[in-house]
């Protein structure tokens, strides 16, 4: 076994040093009745060459990875510069653990500090954590935090236009966690939250209104208007962004009045990998920092005055506060946060905005091309970033036909929204050039 260095001599000498006669004697404290009888019923180990062949066979059976794809709905195909993966493959990064010894973990700690800074700026808020599993669980943590901040306000209002996986995850997290109450706010013809409904249902018992930004239909909500409705009743506005690239172009949640903003960072240089790992983004205002879940890195100094970074505010955390902690999270999806950090630094102040603009223009070009023939129409008339919902008769059949043609043209919406069973979502990013858009239009018979 190539990962294990001990020779038969080593084993014999180590056993002698321990003072036992055999390896079995090392396990003599385990009662016989509890000892596993027989080996693990798995095939014998394979060579690296054999493992690789088996994995290549399995990978080759995923033809979805080679089709021209316009699937989005929470996970997005973006181009990642070569530098990102090269740095991720530095074993000093990927084979390190949570930085409990800061003096020899400055690389991870400084990168996380930079990550926190970038996420806070992106969301227009003061602090960000490091970090959450994904956008859905970060949204659930935001709901729990809103309830912690306002213990006498048990109601959470969730936009029905928030990604269904995010809503489902919030439901799972809130079930049994105190006496919370979840309401879902309907959406209108523009694909945005029904503001009249919202004004009627946000009350002094409401702790938070949680909205997608952009929402699952790709539509950009009017955050300032929603904030006015929530704030009038003392409720917090919370935003959840699945396509975080949008925030390079859209007014930031913080500037629009959000107290907590969460998102999914997969768009920032992280492969799709069939849905994970991504990285949850979580930002809030400084005054709420001690109620924030997850781990935080802070600046510190040594005796000589040198600047360094440490895990900090640990007194909120599970290893100290145990059952009174702000969350049970002890991982930080650090490596994925590193990918996002490198990606955001490469794009920088102007590049990220340009990239977002490129996504915007291509998605709007696609919208024009797909609706020109009259077979498909826009499902909603609200503003959109890089994802759009289309409707028309025979939507599922058209998606199936496109797939047979090698194009994954969109995500059908009927399973999530029965009233939209003739609708589907098309995500268009910088990876889709004019030729790809033309092929999409043809495959969909637009």
């Amino acid at each position: 076994m190539r990962f294990i260095p001990h020779s038969p001599t080593d084993v014999a000498e180590m056993l002698a040093a321990v003072g036992v006669a055999s390896l079995d004697d090392l396990f003599r404290d385990i009662p016989d009745a509890l000892r596993a009888t027989g080996a693990i019923a798995l095939p014998p180990g394979l060579s690296e060459q054999e493992v690789r062949r088996r994995l290549a066979e399995l990978a080759a059976r995923n033809d979805g990875a080679t089709h021209l794809s316009f699937l989005g709905a929470g996970a997005y195909p973006h181009f990642s510069p070569a530098v990102v993966d090269n740095l991720l493959q530095r074993a000093e990064f990927y084979s390190a653990y949570t930085p409990y010894q800061p003096e020899v973990s400055q690389g991870t700690l400084q990168a996380i500090f930079e990550f926190q800074t970038l996420v806070a700026m992106l969301f227009g808020l003061e602090v960000a954590n490091a970090s959450m599993y994904d956008g859905a669980s970060a949204t659930a943590e935001a709901a729990l935090m809103a309830l912690r901040l306002a213990p006498k306000r048990p109601r959470i209002v969730l936009a029905r236009s928030l990604h269904p996986h995010y809503r489902a995850t919030v439901r799972t997290y809130l079930e049994g966690a105190g006496d919370s109450e979840l309401l879902e706010a309907p959406f209108g013809a523009d694909g945005r939250i029904d503001r009249d409904w919202l004004a009627r249902h946000v009350d002094p018992r409401t702790s938070a209104v949680i909205v997608g930004y952009p929402n699952v239909f790709g539509v950009v909500e009017d955050l300032r208007g929603l904030h006015a409705i929530a704030a009038a009743q003392g409720a917090l506005l919370v935003t959840a962004t699945a396509e975080s690239l949008a925030l390079a172009l859209l007014q930031s949640p913080g500037d629009c009045g959000a107290e907590i903003a969460v998102g999914e960072g997969q768009s920032f240089g992280i492969p799709l990998s069939y849905g994970g790992p991504g990285v949850g983004l979580f930002a809030t205002r400084s005054k709420h920092v001690r109620s924030m879940p997850g781990r935080l890195v802070g600046e510190a100094h040594d005796d000589a005055g040198r600047r360094g970074y440490v895990l900090t505010l640990a007194t909120r955390e599970q290893h100290i506060r145990r059952e009174r902690a702000t969350s049970n999270i002890c991982t930080n999806h650090g490596l994925v946060a590193l990918a996002a950090t490198v990606y955001l630094c490469l794009h920088g102040k102007h590049g990220l905005r340009q990239l977002a603009h490129l996504n915007l223009t291509r998605a709007h070009r696609a919208a024009r091309a797909l609706t020109a023939g009259g077979r498909w129409r826009m499902a909603f008339d609200g503003p959109f970033f890089n994802e759009l919902a289309l409707r028309g008769a025979g939507a599922q059949a058209a998606l199936d036909a496109a797939r047979a043609d090698g194009v994954l043209a969109g995500v059908p919406l009927g399973e999530w929204y029965p009233e939209l069973d003739d609708a589907f979502l098309v995500a268009v990013t910088e990876v889709h050039d004019d030729a790809a858009l033309l092929r999409l239009a043809r495959a969909l018979g637009a």
């Binding site: 321990v18 596993a36 995923n62 794809s69 000093e92 902690a325």
Partner: protein, 503 residues
């Protein structure tokens, strides 16, 4: 502050400013296809923000150099012996990295039609079965994103199980030596936590558990081997005491590296456990993640597993609709599939015999260190251990030297430090987990370093208090950092008054 640091950016000097401090207007690290017009042509102008103030403007070589230098400031399992206890830092095979980057996995969208994802579904199906076999459980869900996420998922299932049986039980019993995530996960699932004490030799006794059991107890969460590195010998009787009162046993699988091929939790009383793939199955720890925390359950709990579930439909594997009694979703999409691919590759490489051998070698290495160091440091428990052993700083106390000093001096010797001050039930704990992948030469070098530090504690304790000295920074003032938290960099024009975060 940055002025003096800036002259140190050339050559091999170990200083590196924040990326924001490298920024200069007009630099860029990507070239993008052009886009015509302005965003305001396509979006209502009041929705559009200006470029983000403070985002860096840096070239590609600057970004590469910056992060490459940061990587050199990290110790990892690939650079040195990393004997972190209860966290199982073992070698991350490079072949796993190659596997996860195969385009068929890396470029696959999670909402691709099932027919277009049969390879990865087959992998997930097989991995579920392999994990079930390894642990003797009846069903496995791969959905949770990390070990602690698996704990929460498991406790949510415990709750749903009792709800369906008409009992709103309120309490979870947890040994004092448990991982900190256990009580936090139980509380997050809506339970109050009651601590169970261990006996003189660090083990939980069935009689203690039996006395604590009431009809209000929903579950016992137990780590086995426990955080002292000892196998809970009465686990079967403990489980029986829990089951007799209709409660369940949650088995924390973080220390599973000690049990592969040795004992199967599902056969010794566990009803639910989480697998920490990044510990036992060698996926990257990545400075704290991403992990993956699949959970395994016995049959009575299977209906509550998070959905959707994978199902066979003739020759095709599909995601089912959400099962009726499922606790629901705990995340978006299916799982941290990139990590599942790596764990699958690892299990294929080792096979059943290799996994068993890994456990036996890990336990041998831990006992070797236990015996070699027992004359120099005081053992928390003088007994054969499993995958890790715990020492205390008691013999160093007369010299004014503490566990923290030992840990920091080890960094000067080129080793990462063991886990310190954990478990909480041991005063001045130093918990060492060598794993199966470290050679005897490295174990001996580690022993020599620990002996040298013990000698130094007698001869010149001040040197230990000053450690580490061979690292990019010295001991950082964590107390002050927490009192006045600075959690981000601010653009000069935006800096909060006085630089304080809590304005």
């Amino acid at each position: 502050m940055s002025g003096a640091r800036r002259d140190k950016q050339a050559g091999l000097l170990l200083d590196e400013s924040l990326i924001f401090e490298h920024s200069a207007p007009g630099r860029r690290g990507v070239d993008l296809p052009a886009a015509a017009g302005a965003p305001e042509d396509l979006l209502p102008p009041d929705l559009v923000r200006p470029p983000i103030e403070g985002f860096p403007e840096v070239s590609e070589p600057e970004v590469l150099r910056h992060f490459l230098r940061l990587s050199q400031w990290n110790l990892g399992a690939a650079t040195t012996f990393y004997p972190l206890g209860s966290c199982t830092m073992k070698y991350n095979p490079l072949a796993n990295e190659v596997a996860a980057r195969l385009p068929g996995f890396a470029d696959l969208h999670p909402l691709a039609p099932d027919e277009s994802a049969q390879g990865v579904l087959q992998l997930c199906w097989e991995l579920q079965e392999m994990l079930a076999e390894i642990c003797g459980m009846d069903a496995v869900s791969l959905q949770p994103a990390a070990g602690a996420h698996g704990e929460l998922t498991g406790m949510k299932m415990v709750r749903a199980y009792h709800r369906d049986r008409g009992g709103a039980r309120k309490v979870v019993l947890i040994p004092a030596s448990a991982h900190g995530t256990n009580p936090a996960s139980a509380a997050l699932a809506g339970y109050s936590v009651q601590t169970v004490e261990a006996n003189q030799v660090g083990l939980v006794e069935a009689a203690t558990v039996r006395r604590a059991m009431t009809d209000q107890v929903a579950a016992l969460m137990i780590t086995n081997p426990n955080t002292l590195g000892l196998f809970e010998r009465e686990i079967a009787q403990i489980a029986a005491a829990v089951h007799e009162r209709g409660a369940l046993v949650y088995f924390d699988g973080a220390n599973l590296n000690a049990l592969l091929g040795v004992a199967k939790p599902g056969r010794i009383g566990a009803d639910v456990l989480q697998f920490n793939l990044h510990k036992t199955f060698s996926t990257p720890h990545g400075g704290g993640g991403p992990g993956a925390g699949p959970i395994g359950v016995r049959a009575p709990l299977a209906p509550y597993l998070p959905g959707p579930r994978l199902a066979r439909d003739g020759d095709v594997l599909r995601w089912s609709a959400m099962p009726e009694r499922s606790i629901g979703r705990v995340r978006a999409f299916h799982a941290n599939v990139g990590m599942l691919v790596r764990a699958y590759a690892y299990i294929l490489a080792l096979g059943g015999d290799g996994l068993t051998l890994a456990t036996r070698m890990a336990v041998l290495a831990a006992n070797y260190l236990r015996v070699r160091l027992a004359g120099t440091y005081q053992l928390a428990q003088d007994a054969i251990c499993m995958h890790e052993c715990v020492f205390t700083d008691k013999t160093l106390e007369p010299h004014g030297v503490k566990t923290l000093d030992v840990a920091k001096r080890l960094l000067d010797h080129g080793f990462y430090a063991p886990t310190i001050y954990f478990p909480l039930v041991v005063s001045g704990a130093l918990m060492i987990e060598p794993t199966e992948t470290e050679s005897r030469e490295i174990l001996d070098a580690f022993v020599a370093a620990m002996e040298a530090i013990a000698a130094e504690a007698v001869a010149s304790p001040a040197a230990l208090h000053a450690a580490p000295t061979l690292t990019p920074v010295g001991r950082l003032d964590e107390a002050r950092a927490a009192r006045r938290p600075v959690l981000r960099w601010w653009p000069p024009t935006d800096a909060p008054p006085g630089g304080a975060e809590d304005r």
